[in-house]
């Protein structure tokens, strides 16, 4: 419902502002292609009778939501957080712990997941955002580890071993998530919704202040903006978005464990964003997909897959500043010029 509106509004804006048209067009075409591909994927999976693809891409989309939220912070606010996985875990634990007490409806567990992750973001953000640079990275890592060890010590909920769900959540009593196909489309809807929300956010007045503070925080302050407040709100929004991803992840795997919150997971999310191309939003989706699919296919190919995967990631991140989106843009420019 939002997609056509967004496209229509993007076109005249580009004309009016005289912005470089190809860039604007690419920012609409590429995500549209991505989402169309994801929407049609179940048909392909059905035709190839490759049911595992549905689960695989459900997972890809869930991590895309988390990577999107991280791109909002890294790519648009220059807030490199090393603790984003904590929110993923909080969302998942909200589902798991409620289920352990017999509450298994998404109408309860989703709001709880969002509230808990939002609250955690608010409380930790109040502290983290007072620091800058490396200190910010370290303190977000510290809070992430705090969440990790707290989860690992929750003996009634499985402690280190985690917690298995008896079943996926119901939605208003209906077992909507039980069908892999229905669940796939629920996750896709969440991803598209999250993407459009982020897209709107970065173009809004709020997003403009956030982007300005990324460029030059002192200037923004002397213009009259309290940068800290804007960053805090962005941090809470990103936290809740990752909480949503956690809610979906808990339901997808029907299992919740502290591993969801590990610092390695936070690092993987950062790599996804860098791999795809930060500050583009759809780059985060592309990065998450590339990361998870490579991991899947390379590990099927050889047990030493990490020896290929690691250097590949390093090469992309070091040599291609704009990530995969950057490669695409560079190739496009070369083709059109030649």
């Amino acid at each position: 419902m939002h997609t056509p509106g967004e496209m229509q509004s993007a076109a005249p804006a580009a004309a009016e502002e005289g912005a470089p048209a190809p860039r604007r067009r690419r920012a609409v075409v590429l995500p549209a292609l991505l989402f169309a591909g994801l929407a049609l994927l179940p048909a392909a999976a059905l035709a190839l009778s490759a049911g595992y693809m549905l689960d695989l891409f459900t997972r890809v989309m869930i991590f895309s939501v988390a990577a999107l939220s991280l791109d909002l912070l890294i790519g648009y606010a220059a807030l490199v957080t090393f603790g984003q996985a904590a929110f993923l875990g909080l969302g998942a634990y909200a589902v798991g712990i409620l289920a352990a007490h017999g509450i298994t409806d998404a109408l309860v567990s989703l709001p709880v997941a969002l509230a808990v992750s939002g609250l955690f973001a608010l409380l930790t953000g109040l502290v983290c955002l007072r620091t800058k640079g490396v200190y910010f990275i370290m303190i977000t890592l510290a809070f992430g580890q705090m969440a990790f060890f707290t989860a690992a010590s929750l003996a009634p909920y499985g402690g280190d071993d985690g917690l298995t769900l008896a079943d996926r959540n119901t939605v208003a009593g209906l077992p909507l998530f039980d069908s892999p196909l229905a669940f796939y489309y629920v996750v896709l809807a969440c991803l598209v919704g999250a993407y459009l929300m982020c897209r709107t956010l970065v173009a809004s007045r709020f997003g403009r202040v956030l982007r300005g503070a990324k460029d030059n925080p002192v200037r923004m302050t002397t213009l009259g903006f309290r940068v800290y407040h804007f960053q805090l709100v962005a941090y809470v929004i990103a936290g809740m978005l990752s909480g949503l991803a956690g809610f979906l992840l808990g339901n997808a795997t029907e299992f919740v464990s502290p591993a969801y919150m590990s610092w390695q997971r936070s690092g993987e999310l950062i790599i996804m964003v860098l791999l795809g191309g930060m500050g583009t939003l759809h780059g985060a989706i592309l990065g998450a997909a590339t990361f998870l699919l490579l991991e899947e296919w390379l590990s099927a190919f050889t047990e030493h897959w990490k020896m290929i995967f690691g250097p590949f990631l390093v090469l992309i991140v070091v040599f291609v500043r704009g990530g995969l989106i950057g490669i695409g843009a560079a190739v496009g420019r070369r083709l059109f010029r030649g």
């Binding site: 502002e17 912005a19 809004s204 403009r208």
Partner: protein
């Protein structure tokens, strides 16, 4: 003199043993262009930083439009009508020239905690931004990323950002620094046009520009105000000539 827009009362700041602002008293009337001159290291930028709130003074008071702002953070002072340009060009390099100014307009027009609606197509923001750009002669450079503008254009952009925030008082920290003769003349012409619309505190080394623009001049040496008055009076002050102008004006 009318109620001053800015008043400094015995402003004192020390960095370790070094007194960079020493009992500075200063009053700027509405619409006045007040220049502060002095040799390098006289404490001019430190003075501006204290007025805009980036540095807190040890003693003394800063009154903006009759209100004590001595302990207010910079963003609150900006909201009260204080704008500034920086000695070292400070724009948002990733934003277009237009968006740089539009964000300055945004700072004074309603809440920025608006999460929906494309800010780049809000006429209430873009209109005044384009007007301010036109005023400093950058109308045809609106879409260029600020990082790609020439040095002189960046200085003009800073001025446009300050204009767009419709200040009561504009602090200009060496707006001509590093610009060529031609660009300096252009900036002087722009400032000439803006004179009287709001008060300005101008820190500048270019004496031609200062004497062309200023209603009053204060001479700052070692953090102290040595003399203060109309240009002709300051120029004739034997103390000032001995301490500073002598060498500047050859």
């Amino acid at each position: 003199m009318a109620e001053p827009i800015l008043r400094l009362d015995g402003l004192t700041k020390q960095f370790g043993g070094l007194t960079v602002s020493d009992q500075v008293d200063l009053a700027i009337a509405p619409g006045e262009l007040h220049a502060v001159i002095g040799p390098n290291g006289a404490g001019k930028t430190t003075l501006i930083n204290q007025i805009s709130g980036l540095i807190e003074p040890d003693h003394g008071r800063i009154l903006l439009d009759g209100r004590d702002v001595t302990r207010l953070p910079p963003h609150r002072r900006a909201r009260l009508g204080l704008a500034r340009s920086f000695q070292i060009t400070s724009v948002l390099p990733g934003f277009s020239a237009l968006e740089n100014v539009a964000v300055a307009v945004q700072a004074r027009s309603g809440s920025s905690f608006r999460f929906f609606g494309d800010a780049a197509s809000e006429p209430a923001l873009q209109g005044p931004a384009r007007a301010a750009l036109a005023e400093v002669g950058l109308a045809d450079r609106a879409e260029v990323p600020a990082g790609h503008l020439s040095h002189g254009e960046k200085r003009a952009l800073e001025l446009a950002m300050a204009l767009a925030s419709e200040p009561k008082l504009l602090l200009l920290d060496e707006p001509m620094a590093g610009t060529g003769r031609e660009e300096t003349d252009r900036l002087v012409a722009v400032l000439q046009r803006l004179k009287g619309r709001f008060a300005m505190l101008l820190v500048e080394h270019d004496m031609t520009a200062v004497f062309a623009l200023a209603d009053r001049i204060s001479v700052l040496i070692y953090g102290r105000i040595l003399a203060s008055g109309p240009p002709a009076e300051v120029r004739a002050d034997p103390q000032v000539v001995a301490a500073y102008l002598g060498e500047e004006m050859e």
